[in-house]
């Protein structure tokens, strides 16, 4: 049977799903609907584009020819207004209804915009897509930008703009940058490095309002009264799964669209993958699990039964010269020990959290070349006792048999 498969969303999850189906030679007749006026590109490479280290064409993963060759019907720049589960159709803003036998929702995530006066002013943007990137790239040298959020995305935005001569201030609620990925020591090194490239960093900073002039954002005001003038204000305070369509269609949702291990929503005809889902109480914001979702969904669509399991993931900051690698759990809890390397000389910091002689958390800053080695040991549950004295220095310092 040649079934009709509709995919809503053209992000990296969708791209990976299409590849997997194509590789398997599946005969699903695929329709791809993307709100962005383009197909899939490597969204996580937007930061290098922003920093001027890459150009947009270099990060495109699926061009028109690719879709054509695989018979994918594309609706780019098209917004979906509703899903009719009974009729098994998807309706576009244009009014077009597209029938499906299976539907995959891959709508990704929305930026989290903290509720504050002025958030709707012109000049307040998020950092999600090529348009946002181009807004930032359009700032000239000598202009001023404020970034709200000292997470991965916010810092990449800040570094990218700073590299273009923009005077950037990062405003972060928590007491240290990247608080989900780093411990305070590593964050301190990172902050030092960012400050060294002219980025002003304010931590433990609470935002109050965005002041505007003629509908244009002009300054961010903090609770302590500090006023940070800006020509552009970038919201990078976090993301939330984009579940509006699914909710409207009556699919079971919590923070995200609830899926089972085969990526099926509460409606077996509808799958969901990527940043819009919730599985086992977790939502997702990094590319590795999103790709896993896509592969599991592909198997489900191909009639293979593969069960998704959450894997350890690692995060990297794509700011040239501020390499960091973070994975696992590094909360300070009883029974956990840590091995810490503090090496200002080589501008690096490493922290491994150990529980039962196994790595359960990794923070690397400055020199992340060994990240994968540590990560594999964590993932594999490798017993580290025999290596413990030199573990923190990485594979080059292990006896041959262990390296």
């Amino acid at each position: 049977m040649v079934g009709r498969l509709v995919i809503i969303g053209g992000g990296m999850a969708a791209g990976r799903l299409l590849e997997a189906l194509a590789d398997a030679g599946s005969d699903w007749k695929v329709t791809l609907i993307n709100a962005e006026p383009r197909g899939t590109y490597n969204r996580i490479m937007l930061s290098p584009v922003l920093a001027g280290e890459k150009s947009y064409p270099e990060i495109v993963t699926h061009d028109d020819a690719w879709y054509r060759a695989r018979g994918v019907a594309c609706h780019f720049g098209a917004r979906v207004t509703g899903i009719d589960r009974a009729a098994q159709t998807v309706t576009l803003a244009s009014g077009t209804a597209i029938g499906y036998d299976r539907l995959v929702i891959a709508t990704g995530a929305m930026p989290l915009i903290p509720p504050m006066p002025g958030a709707d002013l012109e000049g307040v943007i998020a950092y999600r897509d090529l348009e946002d990137t181009e807004r930032m790239m359009g700032l000239g040298a000598g202009t001023r930008a404020v970034v709200i959020g000292g997470g991965l995305l916010g810092l990449e935005a800040a570094a990218g703009m700073a590299s273009r001569g923009v005077s950037v201030t990062v405003v972060h609620r928590n007491s240290h940058l990247l608080d989900r990925q780093l411990d305070p020591a590593a964050a301190g090194l990172l902050q030092r490095d960012l400050e060294a490239r002219g980025i002003r960093v304010l931590t433990s900073a609470m935002t109050q309002e965005i002041r505007g002039e003629a509908g244009q954002a002009r300054a961010l005001v903090l609770e302590d009264g500090t006023e940070l003038p800006c020509d552009l204000l970038v919201m990078a305070a976090g993301i939330r799964p984009n579940i509006a369509l699914a909710e409207a269609a009556g699919l079971e949702c919590a923070r995200g669209i609830l899926v089972d291990a085969q990526m099926r929503s509460s409606d077996p005809a509808i799958l969901a993958i990527g940043e819009c889902i919730e599985f086992d109480g977790q939502t997702f914001g990094l590319v590795a699990p999103v790709f896993d979702h896509a592969l599991v969904a592909a198997d489900t669509l191909l009639g293979r039964r593969t069960a998704y399991a959450i894997k350890e993931v690692s995060a990297k900051l794509k700011v040239t010269g501020c390499d960091l690698f973070s994975a696992g759990d590094f909360a300070d809890l009883p029974g956990r020990h840590e091995i810490v390397l503090n090496d200002p000389l080589r501008r690096r910091y490493r922290r491994l959290v150990i529980e039962n002689d196994r790595i359960i958390g990794i923070v690397l800053y400055g020199d992340t070349a060994d990240g994968t080695w540590f990560f594999n040991m964590m993932r594999d549950g490798t017993e580290i006792a025999p290596l413990r004295d030199t573990l923190i220095f990485g594979p080059a310092y292990q006896p041959e048999q262990a390296a």
Partner: protein, 877 residues
């Protein structure tokens, strides 16, 4: 003669062991020097050992005392020597001449010794002058005198090359007299002579030996009694020669009555040795500290001489008993009267004729009637307040004497202590009231006598620094200030030597062996050019060997054989002290390390003091490799690193004697040696203390490297030179809360940039400090003995070394391992790797591949042992 092949090359003599190797020194014009073996010197023919080769690294002025000090304050010579002279004079006036003493050293040259001896015995009027040679070969002196009537070494070094059998008794010649060992090895290669080692330990000297008899401590008299009985049994007695020997029957009867069980050897082992010895006419029996440093040391010497006398194997090429001495001028000290029971030129204090002759020659106001206090008794008298003024010259008795802690306390409590030395940084010098800066080896002129009676010139190659002065000059100055102006009006060493040689002529006329009167008329330039000369040098005899003619120096002209029976060491094993502690030397260190510890290369061989223990004993005590071990007995205690080795007999321990309060205050091993002496020679029993041994449980262990000198303060520490800085082992019994503060204090680097690794759960802390982009220090702390690649790390201070904190080189960079070949700094791992990957099968092949062993050759036995280990391992696989 000063001109060798270049105008700035100077012939001199190595200041280490009693082999007395010739060296050619080339000053670099910047206060340092390079050197090579003197190809023309009959002791070494160009060879040098690892220590000798590294002499150039030991001559820096670091740590030198350059001005006289009184109570730690610098002063001028007049003030210092007036004080010395007046305090000695006042003490003698108040308490008599025996209330003062000199404790001198085998480091002194003959001329220094001569003046010291003349001052004490002829003018102060006491015989309270003893030399640290007392700790070294006093038993040989006594044994020679009992057997031959005088202290004569009968043979020469050539005998070692002409022998068909060499027996080493209580001598690790490969490490302690490496050049003689190399000569023997070369001769063995050429002529196939056999080698037997009699030693409780399987030392480097055993490598390649036909036989190693792991004798029980104190078993030597029994073994050689057994040999004497076998000689008689097997009809090997030389009855013609016995015409020149007294005491054969009694000696044989005692030997036949001897039980051989105390040797700890099997009947078969002993018989094989007896057969080999008896069946080989040309046999040289070499003996050293394993024989001498014993409460029955003199008997051991005579047990050996008995066998040579009974067979007439003495004084002819390739045979004879042969004592090798520890110090560069131990022999000179014996000749010139450095021992409290000798007069001068082998004349006897107890002999009225001798006394009168010497007193007359010196035109001396007085002369003591009998022996003075030997070293152990001397320091006992210091401790008891009977000696009230003490002058210690170039020796470190606070470390090297038995019962060293008590000796240190005695010196500290003495009313007036003068120390002459080249450095104030010794356990003894720190106790001095007056510290006198003496000139050092490379700055001194004079003569030394080596183990085969060869007198060699020591010549100055470097300027005397600061206000330092030669010892003879300081001693003579004090003599003049004490009122004996003309007797001590010496202007040069040549003048002293001529007087000494003239006095020996009187000795010769009185029938003594030591007669160098042929040199009494040397001009200054002749003296300057004096080539190595074996004594005697007289109208009647020039060099050569003694006693082949059957003429001995006892009244009546005969040799004496002694009736002997084995005596066990004095310290008895008991349940509380179940281990017997042997002490001795390492290959690359010398005495209390005041010189060798300055050389990074030499320090690399064994950078930390240790105790060797048999695997079974270690297992029983729960001692693992690298654990710290505490040794204890009634006189003291020590903490040392365990080295577990089957080279050690079960129940016996070995510890090196070199470490001091300056380099490892818990490793002052002589603190454990009781002040027990041989009743004849007064030599201490340094190798047979009994001790308890137990694993030390420290709260933490540390290893440190530093570009600057460091002075740890923890419960256990040792410091050694390394590369461009220092390395240290540390341990403590209580936790340290703030390692960073501790380390910054230890390394004195308050502002340095710090790298750190902490693993709190494991008790692991590593800190590395950098200044101006270079590593200045690093500290590695763990709850167990620290496992890092020390020999790699030791070279890092002063370099960039950003990865030092890892404690090891990256996996793709090999760790050379502990240095085995000091001359070329080749490590054990490098050698093992080359053996494996290049299929090296001999010491020579290793030398061709890696250079190791090709300079001084001191490491050749260890190279051979590595080859052995490797091939055995592979054979077993």
């Amino acid at each position: 003669m000063k001109d060798v092949s270049s105008p700035c090359e100077i012939r001199s003599t190595c200041p280490y062991c009693g082999v007395g190797c010739g060296v050619i020194l080339r000053p670099d014009g910047m206060g340092g020097l390079t050197l090579r073996g003197d190809p023309d010197h009959p002791a070494n023919y160009g060879r040098l050992c690892s220590k000798g080769s590294a002499l150039g690294e030991t001559v820096s002025l670091e740590g030198r005392v350059l001005a006289p000090q009184v109570n730690g304050q610098e002063t001028d010579w007049d003030s210092a020597l007036d004080l010395v002279a007046s305090r000695f004079r006042d003490t003698i006036a108040a308490h008599g001449p025996d209330s003062v003493a000199f404790y001198v050293s085998g480091q002194l040259l003959n001329e220094d010794y001569y003046v010291a001896n003349k001052l004490m015995k002829g003018f102060i009027g006491s015989a309270n002058i003893d030399t640290n040679s007392r700790l070294c070969m006093a038993s040989t002196v006594a044994g020679h005198k009992r057997a031959f009537g005088t202290d004569t070494v009968p043979g020469t070094y050539e005998d070692l090359e002409e022998a068909d059998l060499i027996v080493l008794v209580g001598s690790n010649l490969a490490w302690c007299h490496p050049v003689l060992y190399q000569r023997i090895l070369a001769a063995r290669k050429e002529r196939g002579a056999k080698l037997v080692v009699i030693d409780p330990r399987r030392t480097s000297s055993c490598d390649g030996a036909e036989m190693h008899l792991a004798i029980a401590p104190g078993g030597d008299v029994a073994l050689f009694n057994g040999l004497l009985a076998a000689i008689a049994r097997q009809g090997a007695v030389d009855h013609d020669f016995l015409a020149h020997v007294e005491g054969f029957d009694a000696a044989l009867a005692a030997a036949e009555a001897q039980r051989l069980a105390p040797t700890g050897l099997s009947q078969d082992e002993m018989q094989a040795f007896f057969d080999l010895w008896i069946g080989t006419e040309k046999v040289v029996t070499i003996f050293s500290q394993g024989v001498n440093q014993s409460s029955s040391g003199t008997d051991k010497v005579n047990a050996i001489t008995n066998c040579h006398l009974a067979t007439g194997r003495i004084g002819k090429p390739g045979l004879g008993p042969f004592s090798v001495t520890g110090q560069p001028n131990a022999m000179g000290g014996r000749e010139v009267g450095g021992l409290a029971n000798m007069l001068a030129c082998h004349l006897d204090l107890e002999n009225a004729t001798h006394r009168t002759a010497v007193q007359g020659f010196w035109d001396a106001p007085t002369i003591p009637q009998g022996a003075g206090l030997k070293a152990v008794d001397m320091f006992r008298a210091v401790g008891e307040g009977r000696i009230k003024a003490l002058w210690i010259i170039h020796t470190n008795p606070a470390v090297s004497m038995p019962d060293a802690d008590a000796v240190r306390a005695a010196i500290a409590g003495c009313d007036f202590v003068v120390v002459s030395d080249i450095t104030g940084e010794t356990d003894t010098a720190r106790l001095a009231d007056v510290l006198l800066p003496a000139s050092a080896w490379a700055e001194k002129e004079g003569t030394v006598t080596n183990s085969d009676r060869t007198i060699s010139r020591q010549r100055a190659a470097l300027p005397v620094p600061g206000q330092a002065r030669a010892d003879w000059d300081i001693l003579a100055d004090v003599g003049r200030r004490m009122g004996w102006t003309s007797a001590f009006d010496f202007q040069s060493t040549a003048e002293i030597f001529r007087e000494y040689a003239a006095l020996s002529g009187i000795a010769g006329a009185l029938g003594r062996d030591f007669d160098i009167s042929g040199l009494a008329d040397l001009s200054d330039s002749d003296y300057e050019a004096l080539a190595p000369t074996r004594w005697p040098v007289s109208a009647g005899k020039q060099g050569g060997r003694f006693f082949a003619d059957g003429k001995f120096f006892h009244d009546g002209g005969k040799a004496k054989m002694l009736a002997l029976s084995q005596r066990a060491p004095v310290s008895a094993l008991d349940t509380e002290h179940p281990f017997r502690l042997n002490t001795g030397r390492l290959r690359d260190q010398w005495h209390t390390m005041t010189r060798t510890a300055r050389s990074p290369r030499l320090s690399a061989h064994r950078p930390e003091p240790f105790v060797e223990i048999h695997p079974e004993d270690a297992a029983r005590l729960g001692i693992g490799a690298s654990d710290l071990v505490r040794l204890k007995n009634a006189t003291g205690s020590a903490i040392l690193r365990a080295r577990i080795t089957s080279a050690q007999r079960p129940g016996e321990l070995f510890a090196p004697m070199h470490w001091t309060g300056e380099t490892g205050p818990t490793a002052r091993i002589d603190a454990l040696v009781p002040a027990v002496t041989d009743p004849v020679s007064g030599q201490p029993e340094s190798k047979a203390a009994t001790v308890s041994a137990a694993k030390v449980e420290a709260a933490w262990y540390g290893f440190a490297i530093s570009a600057r000198a460091l002075a740890p303060r923890c419960d256990y520490w040792t410091v050694a030179r390394a590369g461009s800085g220092w390395r240290a082992e540390l341990a403590g019994f209580s936790e340290i809360a703030d390692w960073e503060a501790e380390a910054r204090r230890l390394f004195d680097c308050p502002g340095a940039e710090m790298q750190s690794v902490t693993d709190v759960a494991r008790g692991l802390t590593r800190l590395a400090f950098h200044e101006d982009g270079r590593l200045v220090a690093a500290l590695f702390i763990a709850r167990e003995p620290v496992a890092v690649m020390r020999d790699y790390l030791a070279h890092l201070p002063g370099t960039e070394a950003p990865e030092a904190i890892s404690g090891r080189p990256p996996a793709d960079q090999p760790d050379p391992g502990p240095v085995l070949c000091s001359c070329f700094s080749v490590g054990v791992n490098t050698i093992l790797d080359a053996i494996e990957t290049q299929g090296l099968r001999s010491v020579d092949e290793i030398g061709r591949a890696l250079q190791a062993g090709t300079n001084c050759g001191s490491c050749k036995p260890e190279l051979a042992a590595l080859l052995e280990r490797f091939t055995t391992r592979h054979a077993a696989e």
